[in-house]
Point group: C2
Chain length 316, copies 2
């Protein structure tokens, strides 16, 4: 499959390289890693994404070139890290891409094979790892710029080599990327150690709101707390993972009160305690150890109801 993908790419001259909505490090890293690789072999490359590049990835070389483009005069579209055609938003509207050859490179097992040439690699930890494997087929030598982009995706999709999905192979790939000049510690600082001061202030308030009973830890993020800190509700992204480090807790639950009185529920649990079931019953979804849903307010009632559901589920 790699050979077919490389062949399709090598035949083209003007290439649109796009990734998915709400882009993460693997989306931005794979767009830019492939963009710089193809430019080394003389291709004209247009990096695109339907949404803006998050600030924490702005340090990546070329990030300022990424825009919400659609294919026009290009002769190939390469879609990255997206499992179906809707993931690429307006960049990939059906009426715009119908006449194009499309190559899909994606590590999600759920990929629908929507493209002309589909390389789906569910054993890969990140799409950036697939791009790394593709380089020899393209005749491209790794350099520090490409390595920096690809290591970013490897790091973000494994939360810095901390997820159970982390394979020996991705560690070996990371070693080669560092050898090629990717600054591991700097990338880590940029993507994991980079919070606005106001967000940290909100973290403090959320952590102070912690309550604990019967193996469950919960905390709240209220409209009033956010107003006091001058931030929006995305400012607590990540704090539920901090709550989940409490040794005594089998599960940690963050309740975020929205402006419209709905309550977002974000849950983390230890192996052996499944929170996906509860989330699903309450209209949400996720994985056994990380799941979420949105329920009706007011906050106090929502907390009581969700805690009761979680307790019943753990006891059942």
């Amino acid at each position: 499959m790699k050979a077919q993908v490389a062949e399709a790419i090598l035949r083209a001259q003007n290439i649109l390289v796009i990734s998915h909505k709400d882009p993460d490090g693997d989306a931005i890293g794979s767009i830019l890693g492939l963009t710089w690789a193809l430019r080394k072999i003389g291709k004209r490359v247009y990096p695109a994404c339907p949404d803006a590049v998050p600030e924490i990835y702005a340090f990546l070389p070329g990030s300022n070139e990424i825009s919400p483009l659609s294919a026009t005069t290009q002769d190939l579209i390469v879609t990255l890290d997206g499992s179906d055609a809707t993931r690429f938003g307006d960049c990939f509207a059906a009426e715009l891409v119908a006449d194009f050859t499309v190559v899909s490179i994606d590590h999600h097992v759920t990929n629908t094979r929507f493209a002309t040439v589909n390389w789906v690699g569910p054993t890969y930890v990140a799409t950036c790892e697939m791009i790394f494997d593709l380089l020899p087929f393209l005749g491209v030598a790794l350099d520090s710029r490409i390595a920096t982009c690809l290591l970013t995706g490897a790091l973000t999709d494994t939360r810095g080599f901390r997820t159970s999905s982390t394979t020996p192979r991705i560690l070996k790939v990371a070693a080669e990327l560092v050898e090629a000049g990717a600054p591991l510690a700097e990338i880590t600082d940029q993507v994991f150690n980079n919070h606005a001061l106001k967000s940290l202030q909100l973290w403090g308030k959320v952590i102070e709101s912690m309550d604990f009973s019967g193996g469950l830890l919960w905390a709240t993020n209220t409209v009033a707390m956010r107003r006091a800190c001058g931030v929006d509700r995305t400012a607590t992204n990540g704090v539920v993972n901090v709550l989940a480090t409490a040794r005594e807790a089998n599960a940690a639950i963050l309740f975020t009160e929205r402006d419209d009185d709905k309550i977002e529920v974000s849950m983390r649990s230890r192996p052996g305690y499944n929170v996906a079931d509860v989330a699903f019953r309450l209209g949400g979804g996720g994985h056994p150890q990380a799941a979420g849903c949105t329920v009706d307010g007011p906050l106090r009632q929502a907390v009581g109801r969700v805690l009761a559901e979680v307790r019943a589920s753990f006891d059942g």
Copy 2:
């Protein structure tokens, strides 16, 4: 040197394996990794440490066997991860070890060559990485138990592959350890995501106490705050690293008020902002990006004095 170390070990039958006071993951991991390796080749091994094993390493196989032993009837002492004879406390008192053959395996460049056979490896990231390299010379095949111990040291000495000391080699070694059965995600959870609930409560209070001005962020950990949470002052270990994630801060400083009115000062800074100079001037020490000192109280005056020193140092 590896061959000489292996020769000395292979000649012995009863071996005391010790590491340093206030043991970290590399100390405990290297003691246990070597212990299990030597037992595979029929040696009688006594794992020892002058201080107790911290709770977060209790999951390591054999951790309950580690005790504050000294050499008595053994025919060899192997010291691990300690750069001079004082690091091993009462386990290595001069009058007790004078007649013993001692092998030192250590990755610190400051090692004083205090042993009979000294293998000092400053290009190694962790002493556990040196043990990994020694295994073939001992004729020991890696197994999941040894791999789990060694990966723990590799992870803790690199803060989960996040420090600038992280080398391609340690990533490749980690890949082999995971291949051999070391559970990377579980180890990470045990050593990095494992806080007492009361400690987290104190984190919340410390983060809430944050203040910021002119690129400096500081926070306090007072006797009253700790009393409210029912914890001792070690409960905020790590929180200064959270403070240092604030995007706007060139340096983050945590002031911990002790019971004796002294103030412990813990500082972290971005590259380009050296906090070691200030720490040294105030009687402490450390590295350019992570340093500390202890100054006289009361708290309020200490904060003013240290902030002024840091500002003068950054401006100078």
